[in-house]
């Protein structure tokens, strides 16, 4: 086949499965506009802000709200558009200020975003999301959080598939369902579905108290004959909704005419009678042309039955107003408007710098940052924007504010690009401080130092070396089979940074590596401790100055050590820069360094600082393992490993599994020549008998399969999969078989046993105990230490507690080990 033919063939083959998508630009634009306000700014965010942004409506809202709270509590929430900037309200109608409830509620201490509750240091973020609604589809998502107990969330239901032949506009929506909680998200009630139709449906929720609320549904496509805006009300907390009014372009109503084609930006009721609707005309609901002028605000004096446009000259889009008594502010992309008569008349405030990001905490007091020559200047108004005064100049010098928020007139939070923690002010913005646990080197804020596990926490078993003796993360040690654990580590160094690694060879020999800082860097050395008596005594090795090429990573301490030992003397230390994870991406472009010891860690020699440099396919190495004095492997991030055959001086890429993408782990060895590699993501077991030079696919237990209709037609399916594999030698091994539940939880079904290297398997009859089910089952650690004794650590997941299982009869029966750390 010549090139021209191949090109033609490609177009013929792939054009058929990639039809034109005229709706795509609209969908992408809408998704972007929906997510931008929740994302605050286009700058990188810290790890604990990097919560999942699911793609579909309810999860999206839930995730966004988790983020919104984190930001609120941490001080984020600075959107790019003034009027799209959604300050997290101090709160609504019961507090001193009245504002819409769609962004969550916070105080200076705690926050509640509708689906999570956290502390102001960004602690736990337990998801309290409502259950899935049957038939849920994209669209109609809205949330309202009234206080710490009361919240509502709307979703659309319908046919998720394109109603006709593609291209199509999206799902066919038939209802909007509002779920409510009155106990902080512990339980949710589903309201009576509200009829709705359309493919691009938007919804807004607002509640005055725990019973009285409003739901605005906009069918989206303004150009469509089916376009309609409908307002519903409830008096029983969202269980039942009745339609108050509707508006369509043809009926001449205000609701059908105002802000044609624009997206709703807010709905807020200050009383059972008085309410506001606002629109943002830089966004549109559907592919309709956006309005170029005219009112973008409407008000009602009869609880939403009728609406009157509020014409504010020069306004360009608006956010829902905020009131404190008669005083109120209304933000627009073009500036701030203020009122002192409950919104009957509005006046333009003092002109602000272009794109100033104002955060109003009530109807009078607001803040904004302005980038100055030597930092950021903070301005404040206490009269609704009529006048502004500088609070503090030159804040966060050398840094850039990603996002900020004031939760009241004195307390605020800010995130900056270079800080791993959130700044907080409690004196009106005059001074900003980081949590005490952080130390700074100049303008660089160091990552939190590694800390040993706290007493009482659940140990994470790493390696059991006998039926009784084993190690857990943090150099915890057990001598009774995992029931009781105690700290056997060397103790943390005073100037330690975040980098930390442990290696446990047997019951007595272990090593701990700790990155250490200096007055000029968060971390620029690594120290390795060693023990030969089970952690009773530790020997501190020399401080290894680290020549990592990336000076920024070195100074900021964003690098990590990894240890591996072949025996009590021969060991390796691999050091690499951590991936810099900003926003949604992690990047590592620097090669790592490999050190070698032949005396158990007393002396270390640098072998190379270029491990991984020759392969663009292997950039994020994160573990090292040697099978012999010459041969070892480093983990990669792109479906490959690096292998060395000269003891660690030179490294080359080796692809073990062609189809693997991102879950690669390192092979394990039973002796110098025999080893195995199991990858649960692609269900592959590889064996080697020549020290890893060649890898042969070996047999996994056959799983029951059935004929099914797959995405491309009839095929063979199985509901089961191999979650974990453990071999004690080249012949005898065990495999844990699991089955996926409807919600993605993997339930352990049985253990399979092989004594011929995986060629044949026998199902063991014993039942597995309750608790051996987890969404993390495929990352569990099944480890047999001899033909009789085995352990299985199943880490905690969002829906299950961690479980440590033990067998003493070759996997026939398993029992959960109750672990305590004291």
């Amino acid at each position: 086949m010549d090139d021209l033919s191949l090109r033609t063939e490609f177009h013929r083959a792939l054009d058929a499965v990639a039809p034109p998508a005229p709706w795509l630009a609209v969908h992408v634009r809408e998704e972007l506009r929906r997510r931008r306000p929740e994302a605050y700014s286009p700058r990188p965010r810290r790890a604990w802000f990097r919560l999942a942004f699911p793609r579909f409506s309810k999860p999206l809202m839930a995730g966004a709200l988790i983020v919104a709270l984190a930001v609120a509590v941490a001080g984020a929430l600075l959107a790019l558009n003034q009027y799209a900037h959604r300050s997290v309200p101090v709160r609504t109608h019961s507090g001193p200020a009245s504002r819409m409830c769609s962004q969550g509620q916070t105080t200076s201490v705690t926050g509640w975003p509708g689906t999570s509750a956290i502390s102001d240091v960004g602690g736990a973020l337990p998801s309290l999301s409502p259950p899935n609604v049957p038939g849920e589809v994209k669209g109609g998502s809205s949330i309202c959080v009234l206080d710490a107990d009361h919240a509502w969330m709307s979703v659309a239901t319908g046919n998720p598939n394109c109603p006709g032949t593609p291209p199509c506009a999206g799902p066919q929506i038939d209802h909007v369902v509002v779920q409510s909680t009155h106990d902080g998200g512990q339980t949710w009630q589903q309201g009576q579905p509200v009829p709705a139709s359309g493919a691009n449906l938007a919804a807004e929720l607002d509640f005055l108290d725990d019973l009285r609320g409003w739901l605005l549904i906009d069918t989206g496509y303004y150009a469509s004959p089916a376009f309609v805006r409908s307002l519903y009300a409830t008096t029983d907390g969202g269980l039942h909704w009745s339609r108050l009014t509707s508006g369509a372009p043809s009926d001449g109503s205000v609701l059908g005419q105002v802000a044609k084609g624009c997206a709703e930006s807010g709905m807020m009721f200050v009383s059972v009678d008085r309410g506001w609707l606002t629109w943002d005309c830089s966004r549109s609901n559907g592919p309709a042309p956006t309005q170029s002028g005219g009112p973008v605000v409407a008000a009602t004096n009869n609880g939403g039955r009728s609406w009157a446009p509020v014409d504010l000259p020069g306004i360009c889009g608006a956010a829902a107003p905020i009131f404190s008594g008669n005083h109120g502010v209304l933000q627009s992309m073009c500036g701030v408007y203020w009122t002192t008569d409950s919104g009957r008349t509005w006046n333009a405030g003092q002109a602000l710098p272009f794109a100033a990001q104002v955060d109003f905490v009530d109807g009078a007091t607001g803040f904004y940052f302005q980038k100055g020559a030597t930092g950021s200047d903070l301005y404040r108004t206490d009269d609704g924007g009529r006048s502004w005064a500088v609070v503090t100049k030159a804040l966060f010098s050398g840094d850039t504010i990603d996002s900020y928020q004031f939760v009241d007139a004195t307390t605020g939070f800010a995130n900056t690009s270079k800080s791993p923690a959130t700044w907080k002010t409690t004196d009106d913005g005059k001074t900003w401080l980081l949590p005490a646990a952080y130390r700074s080197i100049g303008n660089v804020v160091c990552p939190l130092p590694w800390n040993p596990p706290a007493l009482g926490s659940v140990p994470v078993p790493v390696k059991m070396v006998s039926p009784t003796t084993g190690w857990a993360a943090g150099a915890l040690r057990t001598t009774d089979g995992g029931s009781h654990w105690s700290s056997a580590g060397p103790g943390p160094l005073p100037d330690r940074s975040s980098g930390h690694s442990e290696f446990f060879l047997d019951g007595t020999h272990a090593w701990v590596a700790q990155s250490v800082g200096s007055p000029s860097a968060c971390a620029d050395q690594v120290v390795v401790f060693s023990t030969a008596d089970g952690g009773h005594t530790w020997q501190q090795g020399p401080a290894i100055g680290h020549p990592l090429p990336d000076r920024n990573a070195l100074q900021a301490g964003t690098w990590s050590p990894f240890l591996d030992f072949l025996d009590a003397q021969e060991g390796w230390l691999f050091v690499r820069a951590n991936p810099f994870c900003g926003g949604f991406g992690c990047s590592v472009t620097k090669p790592g360094s490999v050190y070698r010891t032949s005396d158990g860690g007393s002396h270390w020699t640098l072998l190379t600082d270029q491990a991984g440099s020759s392969s663009a396919q292997c950039r994020a190495s994160s573990a090292v393992h040697f099978s012999s004095i010459t041969t070892g492997w480093l983990e990669c991030d792109m479906g490959s490993v690096l292998v060395t055959h000269d003891g660690g001086v030179t490294w080359a890429m080796q692809v073990l599994v062609q189809e693997n993408c991102c879950q690669i782990s390192l092979p394990s060895f039973f002796d110098k020549n025999h080893g195995m590699y199991f990858d649960s993501s692609v269900q592959v077991l590889l064996m080697t008998s020549d020290g890893g030079a060649t890898w042969i696919p070996d047999g996994l237990p056959p799983l029951p399969s059935y004929s099914c209709i797959g995405k491309y037609g009839p095929t063979t399916c199985s509901d089961e999969a191999i979650a974990a594999v453990s071999f004690i030698n080249a012949s005898e091994g065990w495999a844990a078989v699991s089955k996926a539940d409807a919600d993605g939880t993997q339930i352990a079904l049985r253990i399979e046993h092989s004594i011929d290297g995986g060629r044949t398997w026998t199902s063991l009859s014993g039942k597995l105990p309750p608790g051996s089910a987890s969404t993390n089952l495929r990352t569990s650690n099944l480890s047999f230490i001899d033909a009789s004794n085995g352990f299985w650590w199943i880490p905690a997941s969002q829906t299950s507690a961690p479980v440590f299982l033990r067998t003493t009869d070759s996997g026939q029966t398993w029992a959960a080990v109750q672990m305590t750390f004291h």
């Binding site: 998704e31 926003g583 799983l703 095929t715 993605g744």
Partner: protein, 178 residues
């Protein structure tokens, strides 16, 4: 379709927070992005999700776009990465395909016509599949392919050669020819 390099003024405006500028930059790239995602994922909905996710990430990461760089390979690289994430997130309950694909495809002439190539493409590892799609389907020059895949131009070229050879071999094997 020719996609012009992003206007410097637009990129500056977008980096300064002008969302309409960002959308103006993005929109000409969406068709290619969607076709790339469809070719990688073979699923319209998943492809749309991948493009949407990529668009959002591009918006978040726009500051990382180097001065003077073309936005297309940068954005397509994000899309390709999203496709990998999409694939990774799918639990493989489908173990293997046992029936000829012709019987599985809808009886549309256009769709049936490309079965051999699509099947061969699906059997090729994602990294190779990506360069094949970028070169033979999206008609990207090697410079752009290298930028999308994060390799050198030479690396992209050699990978493309290997992948093309493998693709042809697979197609010929399917047709019963040597």
């Amino acid at each position: 379709m020719v996609v012009q390099p992003a206007s410097r003024a637009l990129v500056h405006a977008a980096k300064d927070g002008d969302d309409s500028a960002f959308e103006a930059l993005l929109e000409p790239l969406l068709d290619q992005a969607y076709r790339l995602a469809c070719a990688m994922l073979h699923d319209h909905q998943a492809a749309e999700d991948a493009v949407q996710e990529a668009a959002f990430k591009a918006w978040r990461k726009l500051s990382q776009l180097r001065e003077g760089s073309d936005m297309r390979p940068w954005f397509l690289g994000i899309v390709a990465n999203e496709c990998r994430t999409e694939r990774r997130s799918r639990w493989r309950s489908v173990i293997s395909s046992v029936l000829p694909e012709q019987a599985q495809e809808p009886p549309d002439e256009g769709i049936v016509a490309g079965v051999e190539l699509r099947r061969a493409l699906r059997a090729i590892e994602p990294a190779k599949r990506l360069v094949l799609v970028l070169h033979w389907y999206l008609d990207l020059p090697l410079d752009d392919i290298a930028a999308v895949t994060g390799t050198s131009v030479h690396g992209a070229e050699s990978r493309l050669l290997r992948a093309t050879r493998e693709l042809k071999k697979r197609m010929e094997a399917h047709r019963g020819r040597p």
